[in-house]
Symmetry: C2
């Protein structure tokens, strides 16, 4: 038997794809500390924090308008269910966090829908969850959008949504999002 | 005017009173790293973690049967409300966390009722929330019970509950719980 045949079945890991857009992202200054286009493993017990202060946040946005901690993501298991879920919490006193149509004030939190758009200030983030089995870890996978996320979503659909459009985007195990671009584009 | 008259109005701070009981607490080994009978201020954005590993938990239980992180408490503000709330999350893979009658498995979480009993293993904790206004901080105030918390609660009430009983305990601003004892008792 080969080592692959003998090895224990590998667990799939829940992955949260986050596709970022900012109108001034051409110079990528605000995004220069984010690792795009690769999965990052986070321990299930840890909170994924996004914000300006790299001492407090693993996901660091280099922008004076961003709060020390802007928002935090918590991984949890729903009660009486084997389903995993993410919860998002607004950690900014200055800026509202908008999840689809729900406005979150400071310390407000909400379950992250399976697919949703997160906005604060000029930032737009498309969040898409890919289910997995592991209770020990989850993964984040950051992407960079070429075009605004919100405008595209709210465009009147005068023609059928093309397969490469955002509204039909989905993430096969190692697939690439049609709207993501390389760091060096 | 005196300095008290000139000073800004002081904000009240939400305080979570936690009264601990363990059947083998006589020697206080498991509780020797907890600071009883004094308020501790925690930043609103921080998670209060209880467990065996002092690198991961501020509230340290010295007991080989306790998990590295046993449970975590998160402070948050309810959506469309000015009300603050605590959420408890079971961080132990080995031990169920019971909040009143709700059993939480690993990574399950629930809102902490205003007054409730938290159990895991042989540990019993009476949790009582005292409302406050501050959005920047909350406080924890740990107490040690002289008598079991669960048995007392479930005793048949054949006579009126005495004023010093647990079921009537409440925490005036700087008051002492009738069931709390000093560290050195």
């Amino acid at each position: 038997m080969t080592s692959v045949e003998e090895a224990e079945t590998e667990e799939t890991v829940t992955c949260l794809h986050l596709t970022f857009y900012h109108p001034c992202q051409e110079d990528k200054r605000m995004f220069r500390c984010l690792n795009f286009c690769r999965r990052e493993r986070v321990r299930a017990e840890d909170t994924a924090r996004f914000g300006r202060d790299s001492n407090l946040c693993h996901y660091n946005l280099m922008d004076a308008r961003v709060s020390r901690i802007q928002f935090a993501l918590q991984f949890y298991r729903k009660l009486n269910s084997s389903e995993f879920c993410f919860e998002i919490k607004n950690m900014s006193k200055k800026t509202k966090l908008i999840v689809d149509k729900t406005k979150l004030g400071y310390l407000n939190k909400i379950d992250l829908p399976w697919k949703c758009i997160i906005c604060f200030g000029d930032y737009q983030i498309l969040a898409e969850m890919q289910e997995g089995e592991s209770m020990d870890y989850f993964e984040t996978y950051l992407h960079l959008a070429k075009v605004p996320i919100v405008e595209e979503r709210y465009l009147p659909s005068l023609q059928p949504v093309p397969e490469s459009g955002i509204s039909s985007s989905s993430f096969p195990s190692q697939g690439k999002s049609p709207i993501e671009i390389d760091e060096n584009d």
